[in-house]
């Protein structure tokens, strides 16, 4: 990703990777955890679990520590990028392919067995062909089918494959003459209570023979005795302190930070110390304040509401009792995460970022807080006691905005107080500005707000118009008829300044369908903007397989079109995925935000400038003509259906 040296660098919270990334944007905020990881990288010889909640900065910390220690992994296994069926065949194949690749690079003699022949169609010593079969470099239907066949065979012979993996690992270890450093990344994407996570535990055991770094979610750190993860050493990444979050956000704003310093403090408070949540808040705030007719206070409220919707809309909520306990005591018992039965809700709350844990406050409990974005959806919470609402209200006072004038909570506070004084308490029903603000933010969890296409474009524009940044959006729609025009409009705008190849595909899920195969094929195409329409009724297993692919989409600009009625069913399965997507529910009426006159004015400007179809201008023209025709037909009452 191209970074600005002095200016703004906002993204959706993707890990920092390169030296310029670290130089410009890294804030040393991981303290003792970073030190311990560093010393493990240099001196450690046993496996280690590194756990943090979603968006806590695990990948960034690991990348930084590896860079500082100068110890690159000998083998890196991405468990979140090649899973198609979420079964043991996938996991063993990923591990085997990863070790084989390193063995080839180091010239290891693998003639201790005849696995290529045993698994099927290869010569006994043709290991490169086996690797190509397990992980084809180019996508074709034939290579894909061969891979699936191989993976099934791998799954059937898992015990034998485990032995071979360990043997290759030992040969590699002998070759490097030190503990073999394996980095098992992406385990954090697996719900700790899912059968898939249990399916991969044998791999964890096999890799524990080596110096393996497992990247896991904080929820995976709480294991019962007897679990393969239980005896392993562990490191926990806590939430950040408020001033660290502010510094991180200020770095993202570069020279533009100073005028919004106060607003960054508010956003930091609403982040709960989670870096990705903080960045998403900043991203929405930036968009909101650029949208005309909004003052800074309103923009803050909108940013909080939008972030809540992105991360929590339609998510299954933890119990009120759990939240009440945490709110009252500021801690959560470690036993809550491991007890069987209905206490599972604590583990899910942790995995889904409904709660944040900080550090162990005693042997048996952890300091914990409720995520500020969702506090208000639980019974018993009131705005009066809420620190974040108070900060926002104080900000509004200082900035000269009435606290009741923040965003949609605009009411006449004097009038309200007058009525309150005049009427008996049991009759007085009007809500205060704080209450309305509180409800406005809470509504993000219950239902995403509808936006028109023009507003959607405002939010997407920073990423959509430029190849420098790749963001992803879920666009839910109620009316099928408008999607073609809406898509053409976004494609046209995406080509305003840079030529961007846009491709659209319809992928059907449901019984007997192979949507993941289609996605894999689609991603192998060379294009800039991937537009995917979800058709059919996707099954839970298909949705969950997609969720695990989150990091595979990081470098792609994507627009996902999903029927609104399916959204409620899909989002609960996408705890990971939604972290890197922004969520929009499109209004039915395209005409509400785009007029024929505007489209004509856009067309008129680009018409003279277009030299060829394969240019930004040519692309804008062809797509705007689709939009114009749609608008004309609507005006003339032509039915698109």
């Amino acid at each position: 990703m191209k970074r600005n040296r002095f200016g703004i660098n906002i993204d959706e919270g993707i890990p920092l990777v390169s030296e310029p990334d670290f130089e410009l944007l890294y804030v040393p905020c991981f303290g003792e955890t970073a030190e311990r990881l560093n010393s493990w990288l240099v001196e450690g010889d046993k496996p280690l679990l590194l756990g943090g909640q979603i968006g806590s900065g695990k990948s960034t910390l690991i990348n930084k520590a590896i860079q500082e220690a100068g110890r690159l992994p000998d083998v890196t296994l991405h468990f979140d990028q090649e899973v198609l069926n979420l079964d043991a065949g996938d996991f063993w194949s990923i591990a085997l392919a990863g070790l084989l690749e390193t063995a080839f690079a180091k010239g290891i003699d693998l003639n201790f067995c005849k696995l290529p022949e045993e698994l099927g169609q290869y010569q006994a010593d043709d290991w490169p062909a086996l690797l190509e079969g397990l992980r084809p470099r180019t996508f074709s239907m034939a290579s894909f089918n061969a891979k699936m066949t191989l993976r099934k065979k791998v799954a059937k012979n898992a015990t034998y494959i485990a032995k071979i993996i360990v043997e290759i690992g030992r040969l590699l270890e002998a070759s490097v003459k030190r503990p073999l450093f394996i980095f098992a990344t992406g385990l954090d994407k697996f719900d700790p209570l899912s059968p898939t996570f249990f399916a991969m535990q044998d791999i964890v055991v096999a890799l524990a023979e080596f110096k393996t770094l497992y990247e896991v979610n904080a929820a995976h750190l709480f294991q019962k005795p007897g679990s393969p993860l239980y005896p392993l050493d562990r490191l926990f990444i806590s939430v950040l302190k408020s001033d660290e979050v502010i510094e991180m956000l200020a770095k993202r704003m570069g020279v533009y930070a100073q005028p919004v310093r106060q607003e960054l403090e508010i956003l930091a408070n609403w982040s709960g110390g989670n870096p990705r949540q903080a960045l998403r808040l900043l991203s929405h705030f930036e968009t909101a304040r650029k949208t005309r007719k909004r003052n800074t206070g309103e923009s803050l409220a909108v940013a909080i509401r939008e972030t809540t919707g992105d991360f929590f809309a339609y998510s299954p909520k933890p119990s009120d009792e759990l939240i009440k306990t945490i709110r009252r005591s500021g801690t959560i018992g470690a036993a809550m995460f491991t007890l069987p039965g209905d206490k599972d809700t604590a583990l899910r709350a942790l995995y889904g970022n409904w709660i944040f844990i900080r550090e162990k406050s005693s042997d048996a409990s952890w300091a914990a807080t409720v995520n500020p974005l969702v506090k208000m959806v639980f019974n018993g919470a009131t705005p009066l006691e809420d620190q974040e609402v108070k900060l926002l209200r104080d900000y509004a006072m200082i900035a000269g905005i009435s606290p009741s004038g923040l965003g949609p909570c605009r009411i006449d506070e004097k009038e309200r107080k007058k009525k309150e004084a005049e009427e008996p308490p049991w009759k007085f029903k009007e809500k205060s500005g704080d209450q309305l603000l509180w409800e406005f933010i809470a509504s993000g969890v219950e239902q995403p707000i509808q936006t028109n296409l023009s507003e959607t474009l405002d939010v997407l524009a920073d990423a959509l118009l430029s190849k420098d940044r790749a963001d992803r959006a879920i666009l839910a729609y109620k009316d099928d008829n408008l999607t073609e025009a809406a898509r053409a409009y976004l494609f046209a705008k995406a080509n305003s300044y840079e030529y961007q190849r846009c491709k659209h595909i319809v992928i059907t899920g449901g019984p007997g369908m192979q949507p993941m195969t289609e996605i894999e094929a689609f991603l192998s195409e060379d294009t800039d903007i991937f537009s995917v329409e979800f058709a059919g009724k996707w099954e839970n297993s298909q949705l969950e397989a997609l969720d695990k692919q989150r990091d595979r989409f990081i470098n792609h600009q994507m627009l996902w079109w999903i029927p609104f009625n399916d959204l409620k069913d899909y989002l609960p399965h996408w705890t990971q995925l939604r972290q890197l997507f922004e969520l929009f529910v499109l209004e039915d009426e395209l005409l509400g935000s785009i007029s024929e006159e505007e489209v004509r004015a856009d067309l008129a400007f680009f018409e003279d400038m277009a030299d060829s179809e394969q240019s930004p201008e040519g692309n804008v023209l062809s797509n705007l003509k689709i939009v114009l025709e749609y608008l004309r037909n609507i005006r003339q009452g032509v039915n698109h259906g």
Partner: protein, 216 residues
Amino acid sequence: MDKQVIRAYLWQAVIRLGFCPASTKDQQGWLYQYGQSIKDFWETSYPKPPRLENGRITAMIDCTDILKLSVTYQVDSAYKFNVHFQYSYTLDNNQLIWIHDVDGNFFCFPQQLFLNRDGREKAALKKFVSDDVKAVIDGLILHPKAHQHIASPINNHDIRIGGGLDNPFLFLFHLRYQLCPIPDKRQKEKKRLLALFSDSLKSNSSITASSLMAQP
């Protein structure tokens, strides 16, 4: 030849070579590239591209990140244009506006006429030195003699909005520099413009929009 006279010719030549796209298509192309260049020059994001409405090119350049300000231009021709500066802070949607409005139908001191009568342009363009180009670029772009600062509550004394600029392309280009908050970029841009215009003046060749909008 008197330095003042040399600079007077340079002044006119810089406008002619850099800021006079001839046809409507050239003007559209110039303004398109102007918007395109903002993203990297200010290190923010792209503005919305211009539109052509009733023969008038319009666009809004968002400067919220810098000054909570938006700048909207409407260019009818090289002689008639206006630029709206809209400031929105915490006044609950009350916005402050001033408009830089240029209407070529009204009389203005005809500088070019007198220079043409004087007839020494060729000689002047042979005699200039680097300091002359620097002075002219300062006067037109970097530090216009007559300018407005934005005072309370921003109070950024480095921003100088030139009051006397009547060429739309020059006015917009000087905003690109004046509203850029990155000191390093501003410093490098000074050097780049000096070199670019010195070369252009020496060869008496127009500067393309893409060269003018290049990043320092």
